[in-house]
Subunit: 271 residues, 2 copies
């Protein structure tokens, strides 16, 4: 395997860019091929079978792009498809769920962990399963927050309406005495300040995007896959693909990444 080969990162849309951003910061030598499935977003309300089908199509595409490892930057796809994809493909694959769960298990002091995410992630129960696998004594409380993604995508980030929605969703978590809360959807770090304010200083927020970049870094070192070559120009290191609406993707990417992204290409992976 060529150590200068890129990392494949995929998500249902723009949210996975928070994961790509962490990888760019923590392991700046690595090239990235990003795929956002904007034609089929959101994944959160779709069934397991559908998510597995989509994930296979995308990984096949990323393999054709010559990637050396895959990051599933979408919580729903990590929840539904990670195990199956590891069986199916002969390439290292990591997902945001495991990284987030591990960090939460280190962070909690009272053993009570909250998880927020889309309906798909929460209903899958996968975060609970992974957390219990790490430490069966952990108490886990979950809450689906389906409006957070549309609010972020509408740009209502620092907004009284969003604060009201955050309060409404998190109200029931506040009575549960948790000291750690996993931001179990890639869009949620963008609401981090509002969530922190509503939950109060007694609750630590865990950002799986950050933890995933850390896990990827270790994986590449352990498997002798880390790129030692000096950093090139950003625009040559990163490639962005989407299945629809490339212009809209570029606008969102430019608003959250610290450099102007190269032209995003629209492609189809379902044929």
């Amino acid at each position: 395997m060529n150590i200068e080969a890129p990392i494949g990162v995929f998500d249902s849309g723009v949210g996975g860019l928070t994961v790509a951003r962490e990888i760019m910061q923590q392991i700046p030598n690595e090239r990235i091929v990003y795929f956002g499935d904007t034609a089929r977003v959101p994944y959160g309300s779709k069934s397991k079978e559908t998510i597995i089908k989509y994930s296979k199509q995308i990984i096949r595409f990323l393999q054709n792009e010559g990637v050396k490892a895959i990051v599933i930057a979408c919580n729903t796809a990590s929840a539904f498809a990670l195990e199956e994809m590891r069986r199916e493909f002969d390439i290292p694959i990591i997902g945001v769920i495991n990284s987030g769960a591990r960090a939460a298990s280190y962070t909690t002091k009272n053993g009570k962990v909250g998880i927020i995410g889309t309906e798909g992630t929460i209903n899958s129960g996968m975060y609970n399963e992974v957390l219990k696998g790490i430490n069966p004594k952990l108490e886990v409380v979950t809450k689906a927050c389906p409006l957070f993604v549309p609010l972020v995508e509408e740009g209502f980030v620092d907004d009284p309406i969003t604060t009201e929605v955050v309060k409404r969703y998190l109200e029931e978590l506040k009575d549960k005495d948790i000291d750690t809360l996993i931001l179990g959807c890639t869009h949620y770090p963008l609401l981090r300040e509002t969530i922190a304010k509503v939950m109060g200083p007694g609750v630590q927020l865990v950002n799986p995007a950050y933890e995933t970049a850390l896990e990827l870094k270790n994986l590449l070192l352990n498997k002798n896959l880390a790129n030692k070559k000096e950093t090139e120009e950003r625009s040559k290191m990163y490639k962005f693909y989407v299945s629809d609406a490339a212009k809209k993707f570029e606008r969102f990417a430019d608003s959250i990444l610290p450099f102007e992204i190269p032209k995003t290409k629209q492609i189809s992976v379902d044929e």
Copy 2:
């Protein structure tokens, strides 16, 4: 053509059920085959090319079900694909946009019409085009309201948060002196009361779902396609298909239709 054949109705998801509901009420003799593209919802943020591709796949499926006419119950698909589908397929096809625009042109007294809808519908400019085609003197004001659909699907229908979002979106329309407002997305009739309260008694709301059922009724009579046979049992007259998450679809359908729907089948149209 068999006059007992069903009407094909399709939408990106559950929203088109407000159109199916109007057809059931106004022409109760007609059978219906409904397809909700829940695997690929929402259409509102997708490109024209993608929506045309999806619409073709769905109409081919509905033709295999033996339908005698097609209703595009999705505003985005009506905006992007109606003309193309009429050229492509040899079957009567109507869309919610034309019906809604015609009703608005009859309703307005001061010639100033507002349109609200998803990004796709609003950016397509199709409502404006059709309205101007009917009466070039009409003044048209538009506003995309991307949060309305997720709020309705989350069940926040009669809710102070939704009232705040409605106020935020409609604020700029209130200064424009419109006397007629087209509810240009199939979910919006479910927010009708809140929208009416915010806009005040001087603004008439136009529900394209209602107008589309009326147009379909006339079309079937004019083409001698109306079913004269007595109404059968509801559960035998209506068939529901989705591309994903059939259970969730059934729950939503049962909440807005006045009878329990038959089992919804999950099928794939993209292969």
